[in-house]
Protein backbone atom coordinates (compact mmCIF):
# COMPACT_ATOMS: atom_id res chain seq x y z
CA UNK A 1 0.00 0.00 0.00
CA UNK A 2 3.05 2.22 0.37
CA UNK A 3 3.13 3.26 -3.29
CA UNK A 4 -0.50 4.45 -3.06
CA UNK A 5 0.75 7.25 -0.79
CA UNK A 6 1.70 9.21 -3.88
CA UNK A 7 -1.42 8.39 -5.92
CA UNK A 8 -3.03 11.77 -5.10
CA UNK A 9 -0.04 13.57 -6.59
CA UNK A 10 -0.10 11.47 -9.75
CA UNK A 11 -3.76 12.28 -10.23
CA UNK A 12 -2.85 15.92 -9.65
CA UNK A 13 -0.27 15.73 -12.44
CA UNK A 14 -2.68 14.06 -14.86
CA UNK A 15 -5.54 16.50 -14.14
CA UNK A 16 -3.24 19.51 -14.37
CA UNK A 17 -1.99 18.45 -17.78
CA UNK A 18 -5.43 17.37 -19.02
CA UNK A 19 -6.64 20.87 -18.21
CA UNK A 20 -3.64 22.40 -19.97
CA UNK A 21 -4.27 20.15 -23.00
CA UNK A 22 -7.85 21.44 -23.26
CA UNK A 23 -6.58 25.02 -23.08
CA UNK A 24 -3.88 24.70 -25.73
CA UNK A 25 -5.43 22.24 -28.20
CA UNK A 26 -9.14 23.10 -28.27
CA UNK A 27 -10.33 26.05 -30.34
CA UNK A 28 -13.63 26.48 -28.51
CA UNK A 29 -13.50 29.24 -25.90
CA UNK A 30 -15.89 27.56 -23.44
CA UNK A 31 -13.85 24.36 -23.70
CA UNK A 32 -10.77 26.39 -22.89
CA UNK A 33 -12.49 27.79 -19.79
CA UNK A 34 -13.50 24.26 -18.75
CA UNK A 35 -9.86 23.24 -19.14
CA UNK A 36 -8.79 26.19 -17.02
CA UNK A 37 -11.19 25.23 -14.21
CA UNK A 38 -9.79 21.69 -14.37
CA UNK A 39 -6.25 23.04 -14.09
CA UNK A 40 -7.38 25.05 -11.08
CA UNK A 41 -9.13 22.03 -9.50
CA UNK A 42 -5.90 20.04 -9.86
CA UNK A 43 -4.05 22.67 -7.83
CA UNK A 44 -6.79 22.53 -5.19
CA UNK A 45 -6.32 18.75 -5.03
CA UNK A 46 -2.55 19.18 -4.54
CA UNK A 47 -3.02 21.56 -1.60
CA UNK A 48 -5.74 19.54 0.09
CA UNK A 49 -3.73 16.31 -0.33
CA UNK A 50 -0.91 17.96 1.61
CA UNK A 51 -3.15 18.82 4.58
CA UNK A 52 -3.90 15.20 5.52
CA UNK A 53 -2.27 13.77 8.65
CA UNK A 54 -2.55 10.05 9.40
CA UNK A 55 -5.08 9.46 12.16
CA UNK A 56 -6.09 13.11 12.06
CA UNK A 57 -9.53 14.58 11.74
CA UNK A 58 -11.01 17.83 10.43
CA UNK A 59 -9.42 20.76 12.31
CA UNK A 60 -12.39 21.51 14.54
CA UNK A 61 -11.26 21.28 18.14
CA UNK A 62 -13.40 18.90 20.18
CA UNK A 63 -14.05 19.64 23.83
CA UNK A 64 -12.53 16.98 26.07
CA UNK A 65 -10.57 15.25 23.33
CA UNK A 66 -7.05 14.49 24.54
CA UNK A 67 -4.17 13.90 22.13
CA UNK A 68 -6.47 14.16 19.14
CA UNK A 69 -4.54 14.73 15.93
CA UNK A 70 -5.89 17.34 13.55
CA UNK A 71 -5.17 17.77 9.86
CA UNK A 72 -3.40 20.92 8.75
CA UNK A 73 -5.91 23.81 8.60
CA UNK A 74 -3.75 26.21 6.60
CA UNK A 75 -4.07 24.67 3.07
CA UNK A 76 -7.81 24.40 3.70
CA UNK A 77 -8.09 28.13 4.35
CA UNK A 78 -6.13 28.96 1.20
CA UNK A 79 -8.20 26.67 -1.02
CA UNK A 80 -11.53 27.58 0.57
CA UNK A 81 -11.15 31.19 -0.54
CA UNK A 82 -9.55 30.17 -3.84
CA UNK A 83 -12.63 28.14 -4.83
CA UNK A 84 -14.93 31.14 -4.44
CA UNK A 85 -12.46 33.44 -6.18
CA UNK A 86 -12.30 30.79 -8.94
CA UNK A 87 -16.04 30.98 -9.57
CA UNK A 88 -15.87 34.79 -9.63
CA UNK A 89 -13.11 34.79 -12.24
CA UNK A 90 -14.85 32.01 -14.20
CA UNK A 91 -18.01 34.13 -14.39
CA UNK A 92 -15.96 37.07 -15.65
CA UNK A 93 -14.44 34.80 -18.32
CA UNK A 94 -17.86 33.51 -19.34
CA UNK A 95 -19.16 37.09 -19.58
CA UNK A 96 -16.31 37.97 -21.95
CA UNK A 97 -17.06 34.85 -24.04
CA UNK A 98 -20.74 35.90 -24.26
CA UNK A 99 -19.74 39.34 -25.51
CA UNK A 100 -17.33 37.82 -28.05
CA UNK A 101 -20.11 35.55 -29.26
CA UNK A 102 -22.48 38.51 -29.64
CA UNK A 103 -19.90 40.49 -31.61
CA UNK A 104 -18.46 37.76 -33.83
CA UNK A 105 -21.29 35.24 -33.92
CA UNK A 106 -18.92 32.43 -33.01
CA UNK A 107 -16.81 31.17 -30.10
CA UNK A 108 -14.31 29.22 -32.19
CA UNK A 109 -10.83 30.70 -32.14
CA UNK A 110 -10.08 30.07 -35.82
CA UNK A 111 -13.29 31.70 -37.06
CA UNK A 112 -12.72 34.75 -34.84
CA UNK A 113 -9.24 35.14 -36.33
CA UNK A 114 -10.61 34.91 -39.89
CA UNK A 115 -13.19 37.62 -39.16
CA UNK A 116 -10.48 39.81 -37.64
CA UNK A 117 -8.23 39.43 -40.68
CA UNK A 118 -10.94 40.38 -43.18
Amino acid sequence: MEFLGLYNYWVFAILLMTGLYAVISRANLIKKLLGMTMFQAAVFLLYISMDKVDGGTAPIIQVGAVDQLYSNPLPQVLILTAIVVGIATLSLGLAIVVRISETYGTIEEGEIREIDEE
Binding site: L4, G5, L6, Y7, Y9, W10, V11, F12, A13, I14, L15, L16, M17, T18, L20, S25, R26, A27, I30, L34, T37, A41, F44, I48, S49, D51, K52, D54, P59, I60, I61, V63, Y70, S71, N72, P73, P75, Q76, V77, L78, I79, L80, A82, V84, V85, G86, I87, A88, L90, L92, L94, A95, V97, V98, R99, S101, T106, I107, E108, G110
Partner: protein
Protein backbone atom coordinates in the same frame (compact mmCIF):
# COMPACT_ATOMS: atom_id res chain seq x y z
CA UNK B 1 -10.58 0.99 3.28
CA UNK B 2 -10.68 4.78 3.14
CA UNK B 3 -7.48 4.71 1.09
CA UNK B 4 -9.04 2.36 -1.45
CA UNK B 5 -12.16 4.50 -1.61
CA UNK B 6 -9.95 7.53 -2.21
CA UNK B 7 -8.09 5.74 -5.01
CA UNK B 8 -11.41 4.74 -6.57
CA UNK B 9 -12.72 8.33 -6.45
CA UNK B 10 -9.49 9.76 -7.86
CA UNK B 11 -9.59 7.27 -10.74
CA UNK B 12 -13.17 8.28 -11.47
CA UNK B 13 -12.02 11.89 -11.41
CA UNK B 14 -9.42 11.22 -14.11
CA UNK B 15 -11.99 9.39 -16.26
CA UNK B 16 -14.42 12.31 -15.90
CA UNK B 17 -11.66 14.77 -16.82
CA UNK B 18 -10.91 12.85 -20.05
CA UNK B 19 -14.66 12.82 -20.74
CA UNK B 20 -14.83 16.60 -20.39
CA UNK B 21 -11.99 17.13 -22.87
CA UNK B 22 -13.33 14.60 -25.39
CA UNK B 23 -17.02 15.64 -25.37
CA UNK B 24 -17.95 17.45 -28.58
CA UNK B 25 -21.29 18.50 -27.16
CA UNK B 26 -20.58 21.30 -24.68
CA UNK B 27 -23.76 20.56 -22.72
CA UNK B 28 -22.32 17.11 -21.96
CA UNK B 29 -18.96 18.66 -21.02
CA UNK B 30 -20.62 21.10 -18.60
CA UNK B 31 -22.69 18.37 -16.97
CA UNK B 32 -19.55 16.23 -16.61
CA UNK B 33 -17.76 19.17 -14.98
CA UNK B 34 -20.59 19.31 -12.42
CA UNK B 35 -19.98 15.62 -11.69
CA UNK B 36 -16.23 16.34 -11.57
CA UNK B 37 -16.81 18.95 -8.85
CA UNK B 38 -19.01 16.61 -6.84
CA UNK B 39 -16.33 13.89 -6.93
CA UNK B 40 -13.76 16.48 -5.98
CA UNK B 41 -15.92 17.50 -2.99
CA UNK B 42 -16.10 13.86 -1.85
CA UNK B 43 -12.30 13.58 -2.11
CA UNK B 44 -11.84 16.79 -0.10
CA UNK B 45 -14.14 15.34 2.54
CA UNK B 46 -12.15 12.13 2.96
CA UNK B 47 -8.99 14.25 3.15
CA UNK B 48 -10.42 15.91 6.31
CA UNK B 49 -11.22 19.22 4.62
CA UNK B 50 -14.90 19.53 5.56
CA UNK B 51 -15.08 23.29 4.96
CA UNK B 52 -13.53 22.99 1.52
CA UNK B 53 -15.78 20.08 0.56
CA UNK B 54 -18.85 22.12 1.49
CA UNK B 55 -17.66 25.05 -0.62
CA UNK B 56 -16.72 22.90 -3.61
CA UNK B 57 -20.08 21.11 -3.58
CA UNK B 58 -22.07 24.36 -3.44
CA UNK B 59 -19.88 26.37 -5.83
CA UNK B 60 -18.51 23.82 -8.29
CA UNK B 61 -21.44 21.47 -8.65
CA UNK B 62 -24.15 24.08 -8.08
CA UNK B 63 -23.42 27.65 -9.10
CA UNK B 64 -20.68 27.02 -11.69
CA UNK B 65 -22.82 24.52 -13.62
CA UNK B 66 -25.73 26.97 -13.78
CA UNK B 67 -23.48 29.82 -14.96
CA UNK B 68 -21.89 27.59 -17.60
CA UNK B 69 -25.32 26.54 -18.86
CA UNK B 70 -26.36 30.22 -18.93
CA UNK B 71 -23.32 31.00 -21.06
CA UNK B 72 -24.06 28.04 -23.37
CA UNK B 73 -27.61 29.31 -23.90
CA UNK B 74 -26.15 32.66 -25.01
CA UNK B 75 -23.46 31.23 -27.28
CA UNK B 76 -23.37 27.79 -28.84
CA UNK B 77 -23.62 24.35 -27.30
CA UNK B 78 -21.53 22.53 -29.87
CA UNK B 79 -17.83 22.51 -30.45
CA UNK B 80 -17.39 23.25 -34.15
CA UNK B 81 -13.62 23.23 -34.44
CA UNK B 82 -11.59 20.52 -36.16
CA UNK B 83 -12.18 17.13 -34.59
CA UNK B 84 -8.70 15.77 -35.19
CA UNK B 85 -6.24 15.61 -32.32
CA UNK B 86 -3.14 17.68 -32.74
CA UNK B 87 0.01 15.79 -31.90
CA UNK B 88 2.24 18.59 -30.62
CA UNK B 89 0.06 19.40 -27.58
CA UNK B 90 -0.32 15.69 -26.75
CA UNK B 91 3.45 15.18 -26.79
CA UNK B 92 4.13 18.34 -24.73
CA UNK B 93 1.45 17.48 -22.19
CA UNK B 94 2.51 13.82 -21.84
CA UNK B 95 6.15 14.72 -21.33
CA UNK B 96 5.26 17.33 -18.72
CA UNK B 97 2.97 14.85 -16.94
CA UNK B 98 5.81 12.34 -16.74
CA UNK B 99 8.14 15.01 -15.40
CA UNK B 100 5.69 16.10 -12.71
CA UNK B 101 5.05 12.46 -11.73
CA UNK B 102 8.82 11.89 -11.55
CA UNK B 103 9.06 14.95 -9.27
CA UNK B 104 6.42 13.50 -6.91
CA UNK B 105 8.78 10.68 -5.90
CA UNK B 106 10.56 13.22 -3.71
CA UNK B 107 7.34 14.21 -1.96
CA UNK B 108 6.40 12.81 1.43
CA UNK B 109 3.62 10.23 1.07
CA UNK B 110 0.02 11.16 1.84
CA UNK B 111 -0.68 11.64 5.54
CA UNK B 112 2.95 11.67 6.67
CA UNK B 113 2.97 13.63 9.97
CA UNK B 114 6.66 14.45 9.43
CA UNK B 115 6.02 16.28 6.14
CA UNK B 116 7.57 19.78 6.07
CA UNK B 117 4.17 21.37 5.52
CA UNK B 118 3.08 20.27 9.02
CA UNK B 119 6.17 21.62 10.80
CA UNK B 120 6.00 25.38 10.37
CA UNK B 121 3.02 27.53 11.39
CA UNK B 122 0.25 24.91 11.33
CA UNK B 123 0.98 23.45 14.83
CA UNK B 124 1.08 27.00 16.20
CA UNK B 125 -2.39 27.72 14.78
CA UNK B 126 -3.76 24.49 16.24
CA UNK B 127 -2.27 25.14 19.69
CA UNK B 128 -2.93 28.84 20.01
CA UNK B 129 -6.44 29.07 18.55
CA UNK B 130 -8.16 27.86 21.77
CA UNK B 131 -6.13 30.31 23.87
CA UNK B 132 -6.22 33.42 21.65
CA UNK B 133 -9.57 33.12 19.89
CA UNK B 134 -11.41 30.31 21.69
CA UNK B 135 -13.53 28.99 18.83
CA UNK B 136 -13.49 25.30 17.87
CA UNK B 137 -13.15 25.67 14.10
CA UNK B 138 -9.48 26.47 13.45
CA UNK B 139 -10.17 27.00 9.74
CA UNK B 140 -12.55 29.86 10.52
CA UNK B 141 -10.11 31.31 13.06
CA UNK B 142 -7.29 31.43 10.50
CA UNK B 143 -9.55 32.62 7.70
CA UNK B 144 -11.16 35.50 9.55
CA UNK B 145 -8.59 36.48 12.15
CA UNK B 146 -5.00 35.23 11.73
CA UNK B 147 -5.04 35.68 7.98
CA UNK B 148 -7.70 38.37 7.80
CA UNK B 149 -5.69 40.46 5.32
CA UNK B 150 -5.66 37.58 2.88
CA UNK B 151 -9.38 37.08 3.11
CA UNK B 152 -9.97 40.80 2.67
CA UNK B 153 -7.97 40.64 -0.56
CA UNK B 154 -9.93 37.62 -1.81
CA UNK B 155 -13.19 39.37 -1.00
CA UNK B 156 -12.17 42.34 -3.11
CA UNK B 157 -11.29 40.03 -6.01
CA UNK B 158 -14.85 38.67 -5.86
CA UNK B 159 -16.21 42.21 -5.56
CA UNK B 160 -14.23 43.32 -8.62
CA UNK B 161 -15.26 40.27 -10.65
CA UNK B 162 -18.93 40.97 -9.84
CA UNK B 163 -18.59 44.57 -11.01
CA UNK B 164 -16.77 43.41 -14.14
CA UNK B 165 -19.58 41.00 -15.07
CA UNK B 166 -22.12 43.79 -14.55
CA UNK B 167 -20.21 46.10 -16.89
CA UNK B 168 -19.94 43.38 -19.53
CA UNK B 169 -23.47 41.99 -19.42
CA UNK B 170 -26.00 44.27 -17.70
CA UNK B 171 -28.32 46.20 -19.97
CA UNK B 172 -27.89 49.97 -19.73
CA UNK B 173 -31.26 51.57 -19.04
CA UNK B 174 -32.44 54.96 -20.31
CA UNK B 175 -30.88 56.97 -17.52
CA UNK B 176 -27.52 55.33 -18.05
CA UNK B 177 -27.78 53.13 -14.96
CA UNK B 178 -27.21 49.40 -15.28
CA UNK B 179 -30.26 47.21 -14.93
CA UNK B 180 -30.93 43.51 -14.73
CA UNK B 181 -34.68 43.52 -15.24
CA UNK B 182 -35.84 40.79 -17.60
CA UNK B 183 -37.53 42.34 -20.63
CA UNK B 184 -40.49 39.98 -20.53
CA UNK B 185 -41.81 38.01 -17.59
CA UNK B 186 -39.80 34.81 -17.62
CA UNK B 187 -41.83 31.66 -17.24
CA UNK B 188 -39.34 29.52 -15.41
CA UNK B 189 -40.44 25.95 -14.84
CA UNK B 190 -43.78 27.01 -13.38
CA UNK B 191 -45.72 24.67 -15.65
CA UNK B 192 -43.66 21.61 -14.82
CA UNK B 193 -45.26 19.99 -11.81
CA UNK B 194 -42.44 17.83 -10.43
CA UNK B 195 -39.58 20.39 -10.40
CA UNK B 196 -41.98 22.99 -9.05
CA UNK B 197 -43.21 20.91 -6.10
CA UNK B 198 -39.77 19.50 -5.25
CA UNK B 199 -38.07 22.86 -5.71
CA UNK B 200 -40.56 24.69 -3.53
CA UNK B 201 -39.93 22.15 -0.80
CA UNK B 202 -36.15 22.46 -1.12
CA UNK B 203 -35.60 26.21 -1.45
CA UNK B 204 -36.48 27.23 2.13
CA UNK B 205 -34.35 24.46 3.57
CA UNK B 206 -31.35 25.31 1.38
CA UNK B 207 -31.55 28.96 2.47
CA UNK B 208 -32.06 27.94 6.10
CA UNK B 209 -29.05 25.62 5.92
CA UNK B 210 -27.06 28.47 4.37
CA UNK B 211 -27.93 30.75 7.30
CA UNK B 212 -27.02 27.97 9.74
CA UNK B 213 -23.67 27.52 8.03
CA UNK B 214 -23.14 31.29 8.20
CA UNK B 215 -23.78 31.68 11.91
CA UNK B 216 -22.45 28.31 13.05
CA UNK B 217 -19.18 28.71 11.14
CA UNK B 218 -17.19 29.25 14.32
CA UNK B 219 -18.28 25.91 15.77
CA UNK B 220 -18.63 23.55 12.81
CA UNK B 221 -17.68 23.54 9.16
CA UNK B 222 -18.92 26.76 7.67
CA UNK B 223 -18.51 30.47 7.31
CA UNK B 224 -19.27 33.31 4.95
CA UNK B 225 -17.92 31.78 1.74
CA UNK B 226 -19.85 28.52 2.10
CA UNK B 227 -23.00 30.26 3.29
CA UNK B 228 -22.88 32.76 0.43
CA UNK B 229 -22.59 29.97 -2.12
CA UNK B 230 -25.40 27.94 -0.50
CA UNK B 231 -27.84 30.85 -0.18
CA UNK B 232 -27.25 31.94 -3.75
CA UNK B 233 -27.71 28.34 -4.92
CA UNK B 234 -31.08 28.35 -3.13
CA UNK B 235 -32.16 31.61 -4.77
CA UNK B 236 -30.94 30.45 -8.18
CA UNK B 237 -33.10 27.35 -7.80
CA UNK B 238 -36.03 29.63 -6.91
CA UNK B 239 -35.33 31.74 -10.00
CA UNK B 240 -35.18 28.65 -12.23
CA UNK B 241 -38.53 27.42 -10.93
CA UNK B 242 -40.52 30.64 -10.61
CA UNK B 243 -38.77 32.79 -13.21
CA UNK B 244 -36.13 35.49 -12.75
CA UNK B 245 -38.78 38.16 -12.22
CA UNK B 246 -40.04 36.44 -9.07
CA UNK B 247 -36.50 36.02 -7.75
CA UNK B 248 -35.75 39.70 -8.40
CA UNK B 249 -38.93 40.67 -6.54
CA UNK B 250 -37.74 38.61 -3.55
CA UNK B 251 -34.22 40.10 -3.72
CA UNK B 252 -34.11 43.20 -5.88
CA UNK B 253 -31.11 44.32 -7.91
CA UNK B 254 -30.82 47.36 -5.65
CA UNK B 255 -30.56 45.05 -2.62
CA UNK B 256 -28.01 42.82 -4.36
CA UNK B 257 -25.86 45.82 -5.28
CA UNK B 258 -26.09 47.01 -1.68
CA UNK B 259 -25.03 43.56 -0.48
CA UNK B 260 -21.96 43.46 -2.76
CA UNK B 261 -20.72 46.86 -1.62
CA UNK B 262 -22.03 46.62 1.95
CA UNK B 263 -20.27 43.32 2.68
CA UNK B 264 -16.91 44.64 1.50
CA UNK B 265 -17.46 47.88 3.43
CA UNK B 266 -18.41 45.96 6.58
CA UNK B 267 -15.15 44.00 6.39
CA UNK B 268 -13.03 47.13 5.92
CA UNK B 269 -15.12 48.93 8.56
CA UNK B 270 -14.35 46.28 11.18
CA UNK B 271 -10.66 46.69 10.34
CA UNK B 272 -10.84 50.47 10.65
CA UNK B 273 -12.84 50.24 13.89
CA UNK B 274 -9.93 48.25 15.33
CA UNK B 275 -7.57 51.06 14.32
CA UNK B 276 -9.80 53.76 15.84
CA UNK B 277 -9.95 51.84 19.11
CA UNK B 278 -6.19 51.79 19.33
CA UNK B 279 -5.26 48.44 17.77
CA UNK B 280 -3.92 47.46 14.36
CA UNK B 281 -5.92 47.15 11.16
CA UNK B 282 -8.08 43.98 11.45
CA UNK B 283 -7.03 43.44 15.07
CA UNK B 284 -10.30 42.38 16.67
CA UNK B 285 -8.99 42.10 20.23
CA UNK B 286 -9.74 45.75 20.99
CA UNK B 287 -13.37 45.59 19.79
CA UNK B 288 -14.81 44.46 23.13
CA UNK B 289 -13.97 44.50 26.84
CA UNK B 290 -11.71 41.46 26.69
CA UNK B 291 -9.64 40.21 23.71
CA UNK B 292 -11.54 36.93 23.31
CA UNK B 293 -14.97 38.57 23.17
CA UNK B 294 -13.47 41.07 20.71
CA UNK B 295 -12.21 38.25 18.50
CA UNK B 296 -15.64 36.58 18.55
CA UNK B 297 -17.38 39.84 17.61
CA UNK B 298 -14.83 40.63 14.91
CA UNK B 299 -14.99 37.17 13.33
CA UNK B 300 -18.80 37.22 13.32
CA UNK B 301 -18.94 40.65 11.62
CA UNK B 302 -16.23 39.83 9.10
CA UNK B 303 -17.89 36.53 8.18
CA UNK B 304 -21.19 38.38 7.77
CA UNK B 305 -19.44 40.77 5.39
CA UNK B 306 -18.00 37.87 3.39
CA UNK B 307 -21.41 36.17 3.25
CA UNK B 308 -23.14 39.35 2.01
CA UNK B 309 -20.64 40.03 -0.75
CA UNK B 310 -20.46 36.43 -1.96
CA UNK B 311 -24.26 36.04 -2.03
CA UNK B 312 -24.69 39.39 -3.76
CA UNK B 313 -22.01 38.74 -6.36
CA UNK B 314 -23.09 35.22 -7.29
CA UNK B 315 -26.76 36.20 -7.58
CA UNK B 316 -25.95 39.34 -9.57
CA UNK B 317 -23.82 37.32 -11.97
CA UNK B 318 -26.62 34.78 -12.40
CA UNK B 319 -29.19 37.51 -13.07
CA UNK B 320 -26.81 39.22 -15.50
CA UNK B 321 -26.58 36.03 -17.60
CA UNK B 322 -30.31 35.36 -17.32
CA UNK B 323 -31.35 38.90 -18.33
CA UNK B 324 -29.00 38.80 -21.32
CA UNK B 325 -30.70 35.63 -22.47
CA UNK B 326 -34.11 37.25 -22.65
CA UNK B 327 -32.82 40.26 -24.54
CA UNK B 328 -31.81 38.14 -27.51
Amino acid sequence: MVTLFGVFLLTLLVITAFGIVRAQHLFVAVMLSGIFSLQMAAIFFILDAADVALTEAAVGAGVATVLMLGALALTDDRERGPKRHRWAPIVVVSLTTLMVIYATFDKPRLGDPEAPVHQHVAPWYLEETPRLIDIPNVVTAILASFRGYDTLGELFVIFTAGIGVLFLLANPSKRGALSLLPSAEAEGLRHHLVPRVVGRLLVPFIVLFGLYVQFHGEYGPGGGFQAGALISAGFILYALIEGEGAALRAMSFRLLRGMIAGGALLYVGVGLAGMLLGGNFLDYSVLADNPIAGQHLGIMLVEAGVGLTVTGTLLTVFHAFAAREQRR
